[in-house]
């Protein structure tokens, strides 16, 4: 005895096509406004830079000692730096460190933060308070000053080290937020039902809670990336170990302190190039963060 209206094969086809369209249209959220299209292009360009960039240039960039701080020209579209190295080459090869370190840091914070938040939220009596103490401790640590002090003894010689250093101090916020979401999801009908049916805690966290927290994590990931880019660039701008001149932050440092680009117009291109890159990538990430939120949360979409 079925009560569903029997669907003809054509109706079923149409219904499935419509749901596939709706699924496909979700990806279109990332390109449905001009701002988002531009942001996607920016992200793609920088990703390519990070991945392919260093292979486009020789390991040691050529220096032109007789052509330092040159203004933009055909041979050097963005001018040259204090050694005469082409600024464009510096930008392209410098992308990898900055972006990769930020990515590693973001992944670390998301992984640790989510795990901590889920455990604290789902087992509030068992693990909750202990984990939250640790989280509060981490949150209280002033990340940037600590890193600055650390940099005097630790030279962040690899991308991984930078990423880890940033990530280890940054997971507190995500942990708190995920815990709050988990606590409220815990009372939702389907989670209570899963408990009542005897499903094990591990399964519930993985299959019931996590997919519903994912949208928030996705959006947060984007915003964390921008935060870490700033932190890194800030560290290098303030002079924490200029190990590589092609690092954007180091370029800013050189431009301001050595080339006096702020006061003298000569090396303006050298100053503005990394600045504009940072600006573009963070703008793009923030714009797309909204799209990520809408992607997961149907109620925010406009028809």
């Amino acid at each position: 005895m079925t009560t569903t209206a029997a669907l003809t094969p054509e109706q079923l086809q149409r219904a499935l096509r419509r749901s596939r369209q709706r699924a496909a249209s979700r990806w279109r959220l990332f390109v449905n406004t001009p701002g988002r299209v531009v942001s996607c292009v920016i992200v793609v360009v920088f990703t390519l830079m990070a991945v392919v960039g260093p292979y486009l240039y020789p390991a040691n960039l050529p220096i032109h000692p007789d052509n330092i701080y040159a203004p933009p020209s055909l041979a050097h579209p963005l001018g040259t730096d204090f050694e005469g190295t082409d600024t464009l080459a510096l930008i392209v090869t410098g992308a990898r460190y900055v972006l990769l370190a930020a990515l590693i840091a973001a992944v670390i914070t998301v992984v640790i933060g989510t795990a901590a938040g889920l455990a604290a939220g789902y087992y509030p009596r068992l693990a909750g308070s202990a984990i939250m103490r640790v989280t509060d401790f981490v949150l209280a640590i002033p990340g940037f000053p600590v890193l600055l002090v650390l940099s005097t003894i630790w030279h962040f010689s690899s991308v991984l080290q930078m990423g880890v250093a940033l990530g280890v101090f940054g997971w507190g916020g995500i942990a708190r937020a995920v815990r709050a979401q988990t606590l409220s999801l815990r009372e939702r009908g389907f989670v209570e039902a899963a408990r009542g049916l005897g499903l094990p805690g591990g399964h519930i966290i993985r299959a019931e809670v996590l997919p519903n927290v994912a949208p928030f994590i996705g959006m947060n990931l984007m915003l964390q990336l921008t935060g870490f880019i700033y932190t890194e660039v800030g560290l290098f701008f303030l002079g924490a170990v200029p190990y590589s001149t092609s690092n954007w932050g180091v370029m800013l440092n050189n431009a301001v302190f050595q080339a006096n680009a702020v006061t003298s117009p000569r090396a303006l291109a050298y100053l503005l190039s990394p600045l504009i890159c940072i600006l573009l990538i963070t703008l793009a990430l923030v714009t797309l963060a909204n799209a990520v939120d809408e992607f997961f949360n149907p109620r925010l979409r406009r028809v």
């Binding site: 009560t3 389907f190 408990r195 009542g196 005897g198 997919p211």
Partner: protein
């Protein structure tokens, strides 16, 4: 069989009032749910009926009294040990929209508890899929239609059926339906009510139907017991149809009098009762809790709390010092105009 004996539950007061002033959600409730039986709990919001349902399912603890499940006393067990017993009592929630995980298909939602079951019984994937299709058939859904779909692609009535199917995956003894049809369209409610009623025979499960809408209780609870709950106490109990037609307690009479009358096909009951006084009465008098609002209250009602007693040789019980049978419920209006 499930038995509740003097179940008490107090919630801590929120306003930070020092002392023991908590909200008494349940004040010593007795009830029995027989095998394959149908029991209804009727009352307004805040009367404790939902809390009682949740205590049965193990989602809330009780402070006093005892709950006997399959012969075992729950009070004698530690909370952690009670889980397997409470699993025999499954909750059908009011809101079919939040009762299903929006990120999983119906197939996945039903497979999770069935996989657990299959593991316990040493069965394989084939058994799981067959059982899943069988359960969907029990609840009147076409497996080919619902299995690949996500919850938001189904109507409210269908979702509720999926919830019922999911509850059946663990072969429960009791289904607790807490306002199970109040968020479903009117034309679809009857289907769910009849399903719950039919499952008693088809699957051998008992149904505990919790609602403020007495009319719906008629369909599920026919032939079973009806409990009327007011502010955490049972004020009347008896056979469903008898209590509806011949209520003895003034609160039951008020509830039944409040049911809208369909002009043209119904006439109002001759002795309708309207409670007096403010609607949200929260005082704690030493006598009968309903006394401040009772139009028939007498002097002794204020001082002596009534016990649940029997009315002149019938099976019906009520907690009133001066009960009187009154015909309050609407009656059909003769033969309708053609």
């Amino acid at each position: 069989m499930i038995e509740g004996r003097s179940i008490t539950r107090t919630f801590a007061a929120r306003r930070g009032m020092l002392g023991r002033r908590g909200v008494q959600a349940l004040r010593g409730v007795d009830f029995t749910i027989p095998d394959r039986g149908a029991v209804s709990f009727i009352g307004e919001s805040g009367c404790g009926k939902t809390t009682l349902g949740r205590i049965l399912c193990g989602l809330e603890d009780f402070d006093g009294g005892d709950l006997i499940v399959a012969g075992r006393s729950m009070a004698g067990l530690k909370p952690g040990q009670r889980a397997p017993y409470h699993r025999r009592i499954q909750l059908i929630h009011q809101d079919p929209y939040s009762a299903l995980n929006p990120t999983r298909t119906i197939g996945q939602i039903l497979a999770a508890p069935l996989a657990l079951r299959a593991g316990q019984r040493g069965e394989d994937r084939g058994w799981l899929e067959q059982r899943r299709a069988e359960l969907l058939g029990f609840v009147g859904l076409d497996p080919d239609y619902v299995l690949p779909r996500y919850p938001h692609m189904l109507s409210g009535g269908m979702r509720q059926r999926v919830v019922i199917a999911r509850a059946l995956t663990v072969d429960p003894d009791v289904l607790v339906a807490d306002e199970a049809v109040s968020m479903i369209d009117v034309s679809l409610r009857l289907g769910i009510l009849q399903l719950l009623r039919d499952l008693r025979q088809a699957v051998g499960v008992s149904v505990l139907f919790i609602t403020h809408d007495v009319a719906t209780a008629r369909y599920v609870g026919h032939g079973g017991q009806l409990y009327v709950i007011y502010r955490g106490t049972v004020v009347e109990q008896g056979d469903t149809d008898t209590v509806i037609q011949h209520p003895a307690h003034p609160y039951t009479q008020s509830l039944l009098s409040a049911i809208p009358v369909l002009r043209g096909i119904e006439l109002p009951g001759p002795e309708r009762v309207v409670p007096t006084g403010p609607l949200d009465e929260r005082s704690e008098p030493p006598g009968c809790l309903f006394e401040p609002r009772c139009p028939f209250a007498r002097a002794d009602c204020r001082t002596a709390p009534p016990e649940l007693g029997q009315l002149g040789g019938t099976e019906q019980r009520h907690a009133c010092l001066h009960p009187a049978r009154r015909s309050v419920v609407a009656v059909p209006a003769g033969t309708g105009a053609g």
